[in-house]
C-alpha cells in the first residue's frame, strides 16, 4: 500500500481530512486540494466510491444534513477509523523516513 500511486493512498488522505471534523464530499475535495497546494488534484468523482468503501469498513460514518435548502451527506471519522488512521499514518511516516535515508 505504502509508496504506491496517489490512488492507492486515497483512503489515508480521506481519513486525514476527516480527522479534523465531519465534512461532505465537496468540502473533502476542497480540503485535499488546499492542503496539498493543488498537488493532489484527484478526479473528484473518485472519492465517493472510496468514501462508501470506508463507510462499509466502519472507518467512517455518514449522516444526511440540511444546509441552504439542500440535503447533503456528511462524513465523519469513527473511533475505529481514528485508530486505523493513526496506525496508517505511523506506517507512512516510517516509510518516508526509511526512503529518505536510502535516497539521501
Amino acid at each position: 500500500m505504502l509508496g504506491g500511486s496517489l490512488k492507492n493512498n486515497v483512503d489515508l488522505m480521506l481519513m486525514g481530512v476527516l480527522r479534523h471534523g465531519p465534512a461532505h464530499g465537496y468540502a473533502i475535495i476542497a480540503a485535499l486540494r488546499e492542503r496539498s497546494d493543488g498537488e493532489f488534484d484527484l478526479a473528484e468523482g473518485t472519492i465517493y466510491p472510496a468514501l462508501h468503501r470506508l463507510e462499509r469498513a466502519g472507518l467512517i460514518e455518514s449522516s444526511l444534513e440540511s444546509a441552504q435548502g439542500r440535503r447533503r451527506r456528511t462524513y465523519a471519522l469513527t473511533a475505529r477509523g481514528r485508530k486505523e488512521f493513526t496506525s496508517q499514518r505511523r506506517a507512512w511516516h516510517s516509510y518516508v523516513a526509511n526512503m529518505q535515508a536510502v535516497i539521501a
Binding site: Y26, P49, H52
Partner: protein, 301 residues
Amino acid sequence: MSESPIEDYLDELLRRTRADARTTRRLLDEASDHLHATAAELHSGGMSRQEAEAEAVRRFGPVTPIVRATFRRSFLALVFETLRAALFLAGCGLVAVGISGLLALVMNLWAGRSFVGGETVFPGPAASVQETADDAVVLRVIAGLVGLLLLLGYLAWRRHTSSPPLLPAGLVDALGAAAFAAGTAGLAITSADQAAQTGTPGVGFPLSGALVALPATVYFCIRAARALLPSRTSPYQSVRVTVTQRSTVRDRRCCTRLPIVRRPPHSATVIAESGARPGPRRRLVRPRYARSVPRIRLLSR
C-alpha cells in the same frame, strides 16, 4: 456543447452503474450535489452557466473509474446473494425429497412395499422390493434432514445481512416454481408410465415425489406472483410504527411491536425515540417481508 453537461453526465452515470439500487441512488445524489455546487461556484466566478457545468464535469472525472469502483463491491454482493438464493433453493428441494420419503413410508404401510419398491435391479424379488421400498424412505429422509440444515444456514445468513437485495424481486421464487413444476411433470409422467407397464407395483416410488413437488410448485408460484404482480394497494404506502426501545431500534424485541407490512411492497415508517437510529431492515420487520420494504425512514428523534 450539450445544453446541460451535468444532466448528460448524470444520465451516463445512471446508465452505466451496475450497483444495487441504494448504492446507485446514493452515488447519483452525491454526484449531482457535488457537480451543481462546483458549477455554481465557477458560475459565480464569471463563467457562463454552460461552461461552468462542463468544467464541473471535467473536474469530476470520467464515469468509467467511478463505475468500476462501485461495481467491484456490487459484484461480490451479487455473488453472495446468488449463493444465498442457491442455498435456499437447494434446501427447499432437499426438504421436499425428505417429505416424499415420509410419504413413501406411509405408502409402504398403507399399500404394501411393492407399491413403492415394485421395480428394482437387485436379484430376488422379495429382497429387492424391500430394499427399494426402505431406501425410498431412509435415503430421502436423510436428504430432507440435510435440506433442513441448509435452510437453517440460509436463515442465519439472511439474518446477518442488511444489504439491499440485488437480484430482481421474484426471480428466486420463479426459479423454484419452474424447478418444482419440471419435477412434478417428470415424476407424474414416470408414474403414469410405470402404471401402464407394470400396474400398481413401483408406482409409489415416483408418485410420492410428484405428490410433494406439486404443492411445492403451487407455493413457489404464489410467492413469485406476490413479488411480480402489482399489489392492489399503493406500492409506497407508509405504515407508522412506534419503536419503543429507547437506545436503539436494532433490538430484536422491536419486532414484536411491528405489526406492519402485510403485503409487499410497502415502505415502513419508523418513529423512534430520542437517540434511536434506523437499524438493519431485517431486524426491524418480519423476515418474510423484509425484502419488499424499500427503506425505513427515521421520522423523528
